[in-house]
Structure formats: structure tokens, C-alpha cells
């Protein structure tokens, strides 16, 4: 159920130093999030599409990932044009759509999709384990990294634990519905999950102590940027500068 379908690949972007990818993704997302001008946002969307293509991600799967924001965007398109004040564009029954409302909804749509594509192209193209070690190299607090890696490590274990509990309930004839019995069953399932998680955590901690845990997880893979990665790094930098220039010119 939980999977990282894009984490493995052999594209140029997959081979790029994860530190550069994380920094570039954060920087570019920030620039796009703070931009207001339509040309900047369209350029950002194009850059996002370009990077996704460069990362050689399966486009159908990417489209599916984008669908998580479409619900909210649809709501905006339904509400904003009719509630914002401004020049009337057209009438829909008793409601009047305004130019300001339409352009605002449009800008949010471009912005949202652009940032999402940048994230897909640059961050989901590494596994969370790599991300954790990358963030450690970028000097984020050790405890936060340990927390991230532990949570990631036990996510899959506890998901199976939950599936096991749920299957046992199903076999006993549990049919979820809108009633107190269903809610109590789910509450006990969650409670049992927490109890088992805590018991497991105690064992995990003891095992970590046995192995001499001193507050860090080490990795043997080193990150070494080489000359081959230079063009792509420069390209990411140029995209950032161009977006900034576009935003300031308008």
C-alpha cells in the first residue's frame, strides 16, 4: 500500500547528488510559492514538467499522483470566481463570475501543480533512507534524522501489524458501518496498534543499545559530486534565476 515507485531509476536526475536535489527542490519550491505573476507560474509549471520528463518518471503514475490536489483545486474553481469581487466575466444563473476570481483560481492551480511536479522530480526520486542521510549531511538536527529514519523503518512493519489485526476482525465477521460498535472496534484496533508499537519500541531500543547506538545512524555510501553533474546543477540554478527575474520584471 505504501510504496516509493519513483525512488529507483537511472536518469540523470536520479544520479544527481541528493544534497543538490534537496536544496534545489526547496529553493525552487520557495521561489514558486512566493511568486504571483502568471508568466512566472507558467514558466515554473513548464520547468516542473521538463524535470519530470528528465527524471524519466512514468507519466501515468505522475498524473495519478497529481490527482490528490485536483479535488481542492476543483473546489477553488467552483467557489473563487463567484465570490471574489471584480469585473464580471459571465453569468451562471444567479451567480456572476469575475475576472479577478478566475485569474486567482488559475494562478493557484499553476502554482500548486508546478511545486508538486518539482517535488516529484527531485525528492521522490530518492528513497527516504537516502533523504534521511542527505538531511543529516545538510546539518539538520541528529535527533530529527533518527526520528525520521525510525518512523520510516517501522512504517511498513506496523502497516502489516494493522493489516493482521484488521484481517482477524474481518474473519470474525466485522462489517464496518456507521455505528458505535464499528467505532469501538476501530478504536480498539488503534489502541492495540499503539500498545504493540510501544512494546516493539522497547525491544528496538534495547537492540539499539546492544549495538552501541550513540545518537546517529551511519551510512557507508558517500555523496561525491563529480563533473558530470555540473550541467544539471547549473540548469537548476538557471531555472531558479530565470523564475526570479520573470517575477521581478512583471
Amino acid at each position: 500500500m505504501i510504496a516509493e515507485p519513483f525512488a529507483r531509476g537511472s536518469s540523470r536526475l536520479h544520479q544527481l547528488d541528493p544534497r543538490i536535489r534537496v536544496v534545489a527542490a526547496s529553493g525552487l519550491s520557495l521561489v514558486v510559492a512566493l511568486s504571483h505573476q502568471l508568466p512566472t507560474l507558467i514558466a515554473a509549471l513548464l520547468a516542473g514538467v521538463g524535470l519530470v520528463v528528465l527524471a524519466n518518471l512514468p507519466l501515468m503514475a505522475v498524473a495519478k499522483r497529481l490527482s490528490v490536489v485536483t479535488g481542492f483545486l476543483l473546489l477553488l474553481w467552483l467557489v473563487l470566481p463567484f465570490t471574489m469581487h471584480g469585473d464580471p466575466m459571465f453569468n451562471l444563473g444567479p451567480f456572476t463570475a469575475t475576472r479577478e476570481g478566475l485569474s486567482y483560481a488559475g494562478r493557484i492551480t499553476f502554482k500548486s501543480l508546478a511545486i508538486l511536479l518539482l517535488f516529484l522530480a527531485m525528492v521522490t526520486t530518492m528513497s527516504v533512507a537516502t533523504l534521511g542521510h542527505t538531511l543529516a549531511r545538510l546539518r539538520l538536527p541528529d535527533k530529527l534524522i533518527v526520528l525520521l529514519l525510525l518512523t520510516y523503518r517501522y512504517l511498513f512493519v506496523l502497516e502489516q501489524e494493522y493489516q493482521r489485526l484488521k484481517r482477524a476482525a474481518d474473519i470474525r465477521g466485522f462489517r464496518p458501518g456507521t455505528d458505535l460498535h464499528s467505532y469501538r472496534t476501530f478504536a480498539y484496533l488503534v489502541g492495540m496498534l499503539l500498545v504493540r508499537a510501544s512494546a516493539r519500541a522497547r525491544r528496538v531500543y534495547l537492540a539499539m543499545c546492544c549495538r552501541g547506538f550513540n545518537g546517529r545512524f551511519y551510512t557507508l555510501t558517500g555523496f561525491s559530486p563529480d563533473a558530470q553533474q555540473l550541467p544539471l546543477t547549473l540548469l537548476l540554478g538557471v531555472i531558479g534565476i530565470l523564475l526570479l527575474l520573470l517575477e521581478m520584471k512583471w
Partner: protein, 220 residues
């Protein structure tokens, strides 16, 4: 409950990120290494629990449980929620880098409030405890919806309608969370009271203190 990328204005994003960073710093400072495995594994448990969908009439809603997260983890809830939201962004594209701060704030502030409001009431007589549990589940989601609504409102006054919709649409979720929290807390009190605040864990279950670095060096 989360806000998508690209919606909020710069001041809202920046203040959200600043407050979340401060909260995370406090949470990490108070989190000792001998508790870190507990917080990490419980955080994955809450992540999995948030994937559970329960029926509400013809629709279904997923659990949030930030009330229980707050009760169990206290200040550690802030980094735990930050980590969980990071993973959600990676696995499901809910939220993202620029909204990570404000989304953490939306979930973690109510969790902290619930921790301080209700931790003292859990071990009172059953009717009080049940009421406190319900209030904990209800209030956590209500406050989150309110924070989400205000983040939208401070971005753009015209968002008022969307913000009100967000709070209103979450009303059934608040009731469901309240009910589930009553049963879940009652369950934990019977099965593993040491998990809840206000009860010391049984002696034989206490984890040994973390070895200090010298000891580790000696062992190798």
C-alpha cells in the same frame, strides 16, 4: 487535514514555518535518546492509523488522532508530526516542502493544547475521564480545522467561504474522533496504562538509560 502547495501567501507560510521550527526545536530538546525509539515507532503507528477510513453515513473519513498523539507524546508530538507529514508528502503528495511548517503547526498546536488540557483528567472518575477523552478528540480536530481556516483567511479575505466550508465539513470528523478517543483511551488504561501521561510505567518495563559515549567506546 492539510493545505496543498501553492495556496497560501508568503507571510502565512513564513510565520507557520518559523513557529513549527521553534516547536520542533523545543520538542527535540526535551526528547531524550532513551525515548527516541518510543516516539519514532509510535509515530509510525499514528501514520498507519491515519490511513484507517471509518464510515460516516455514505461517506468515509480517515482518522487524524492528533488529540491522542498529543496526550501520548507531549512536546515530542511536534517533531513526530513533522516527520509524519514529511513522509505523507513523499508517499502521497499530501502537502509539500513549502507548506510543511504551517501544516505541522495546524496539527501539532492542537495536539499540545490537548496534552496540557486533558492529561490531568484521564485518571479521575470514569465519567470525567470519558468526557475529557471525547473533548480531547473533538477539540484537537476542531482546533486544527480552525487553524487551517485562519491560514486560508489570512492569505486572502475572499477565502472566507472556503475556510468556513473546511471547518463545517470537518464537524462529523470531530464527533467521530471524539467517540474513537473515548474508547481508545479506555482501552489503553486497561491494557498499557504506562503509555498515558500521569502514570509511571511499571518498573520492569522501564528502558535502561542510554549508554553514554564513553561506555560505548569501552565496549568496542
Amino acid at each position: 487535514m492539510h493545505i496543498s502547495e501553492g495556496v497560501l501567501s508568503a507571510p502565512v507560510l513564513i510565520s507557520g514555518a518559523a513557529l513549527a521550527a521553534a516547536g520542533t526545536a523545543i520538542g527535540l530538546k526535551r526528547l531524550d535518546y532513551d525515548r527516541i525509539a518510543q516516539v519514532g515507532v509510535l509515530s509510525s503507528a499514528f501514520f498507519v492509523a491515519s490511513l484507517i477510513h471509518v464510515n460516516v453515513g455514505p461517506a468515509s473519513v480517515h482518522l487524524i488522532l492528533n488529540g491522542i498523539v498529543g496526550l501520548l507524546l507531549g512536546w515530542s508530538a511536534v517533531p513526530a508530526i513533522l516527520v509524519a507529514l514529511t513522509l505523507q508528502a513523499i508517499f502521497f503528495q499530501y502537502g509539500g516542502i513549502t507548506v510543511l511548517g504551517i501544516n505541522t503547526l495546524i496539527m501539532a498546536l492542537p495536539a499540545l493544547a490537548c496534552h496540557y488540557l486533558f492529561r490531568g483528567l484521564l485518571w479521575r472518575r470514569p465519567s470525567v475521564a470519558a468526557t475529557a477523552s471525547f473533548a480531547c478528540g473533538f477539540l484537537a480536530v476542531f482546533l486544527s480545522a480552525l487553524l487551517l481556516g485562519s491560514a486560508l483567511y489570512f492569505t486572502e479575505k475572499e477565502f472566507m467561504a472556503v475556510a468556513a466550508l473546511a471547518v463545517g465539513a470537518n464537524l462529523p470528523v470531530m464527533v467521530v474522533e471524539g467517540v474513537i478517543t473515548i474508547f481508545c483511551i479506555a482501552f489503553l488504561k486497561k491494557v498499557d496504562p504506562g503509555l498515558l501521561p500521569g502514570k509511571r510505567p511499571a518498573e520492569n518495563r522501564q528502558a535502561p538509560p542510554a549508554p553514554d559515549r564513553e561506555e560505548v567506546a569501552d565496549a568496542s
